[in-house]
Subunit: 250 residues, 2 copies
DNA sequence: GCAAATTTGTCCGTATGTATC
DNA sequence: AGATACATACGGACAAATTTG
């Protein structure tokens, strides 16, 4: 099928100096096309030659615009197949924050600290809703993740981190705020990437970490938001302290 | 001056199937260059021809890589001058979330709701630290912003929104968590862009909004975190309710 | 399994617009 | 004003990946 009747094409030929670069017009044009046709993630977009013709730009400009949109996960490109609407994830946030954490040799610990603090804020702020809305089978899954942490403790830690992530993802899942859930996992991604560069991962605290997670599970089982918040505080306090100590060592 | 000794160039010529596109190697190469040379925002990067030679890529690949990095605010390009290290802001998050809010005709209100809820979570979660660490002159600024809202109320609302934003930015400024502060302003940006498309901005509630902000200021003056949290709740409740109502109307 | 068609990936050469000195 | 350095944009050509007949 051809491009169709869907809101492609610059209305103004911009006879004189276009104040903004042409590729930006192409970016806006592709955005408008997606919005106008109410496309969903995974839906196909016109091919590059079609976009060139419709938007009156060369292939280079169209391709640069597509690169911008892929970086934001608004479009997704598959070599040899075509371009599609992206998943609209927060991958750009992860990449941006990760790089910021790796960049500044003075502020990297601060970035890590801010990250952990934000995650704690999410979970403590949602304490009541979390303990109220977690189902029995979800609580069982939480306990299962703690078991996974115990089993993986002896290993290299790869499984340990995954169990930890799954645990906290599951905690925020039932509150019904996708943004907070995705932000939390994004922060986790950044933490996992940046932490090894800072020697924050010390395996000596694994036993205490497991015990704290168990306490969180017990608080959920008892449907006790106050105890839940207290368990979270005791879980996060040593993590934040370790980051602060690592920062002081420098 | 030449590029210098700073970690540019693909170590492996990738003799066989390079699984990832060349532009991605260029992206990683530029990132590594920034990290290796410990550059700061605003520092100049090599010119495009220099990057081509150093990374063994053509002009097109280098330019597409630069487009990706500009979308993430990792590099910044000034026409006719050169490329520089970007500000590492969360502009990518704003653009991504904004588009997501505009896209889904069913979930857009949910995105707005999640946004507002996250902002409320930040401010209520930091209640104790906010009322404890705000200085007298900052409190005066808060009151000044409320006055601005009163003055702008009769106008078209442009100044009203700005005063509102300044108010909440100032609230989160003293807690020392840059990430939360930037996320909050990012959420605000998205809200302001998306809300007009959803008819959430109803000016009839301006008087109540001003009164609620005044109550927040009074709570800060009294250094009362409980009253502060209560004032915040009363401020955000009608906002969330308006979004929910607008959602129901559809 | 092979070959052709489609689509994106990469390169090159050239011309133009912009900022600085 | 002129010269230089740089990014912007264009068009054509070929390579690589994927699908299809």
């Amino acid at each position: 099928m051809a491009v169709g009747q869907g809101a492609l094409g610059r209305t103004t030929p911009e006879p004189k100096s276009a104040r903004q670069p042409l590729r930006q017009e192409v970016v806006d044009g592709i955005k408008a096309y997606i919005l106008h046709n109410r496309l969903r993630p995974g839906d196909p977009l016109p091919t590059e030659p079609e976009l060139c013709e419709a938007l009156g730009a060369s292939r280079s400009s169209v391709r640069e615009a597509i690169r911008i949109l892929t970086a934001l996960d608004i479009v997704e490109v598959r070599h040899g197949r075509g371009t599609y609407v992206g998943r609209l994830s927060l991958s750009a946030l992860v990449e941006s924050l990760t790089f910021r954490g790796l960049l500044s040799p003075d502020d990297d610990f601060r970035v890590m600290y801010d990250l952990v603090e934000a995650r704690e804020l999410f979970e403590r702020g949602m304490a009541e809703r979390i303990v109220a809305s977690l189902g029995e089978e979800q609580i069982a899954s939480l306990a299962g993740h703690v078991d996974d942490m115990r089993r993986a403790g002896a290993g290299e830690g790869r499984g340990f981190v995954e169990a930890d992530r799954a645990f906290h993802t599951l905690l925020l899942a039932p509150i019904g705020n996708d943004l907070i859930g995705q932000l939390s996992t994004a922060f986790w991604d950044v933490y996992v990437i940046v932490a090894p560069h800072l020697d924050v991962f010390t395996h000596e605290h694994e036993a205490a970490t497991i015990a704290n997670h168990q306490r969180i599970v017990d608080a959920v089982k008892g449907r006790d938001p106050v105890e839940f918040a207290a368990a979270l505080a005791e879980h996060y306090a040593p993590v934040r302290q370790r980051i602060a100590e690592a920062r002081a060592r420098r």
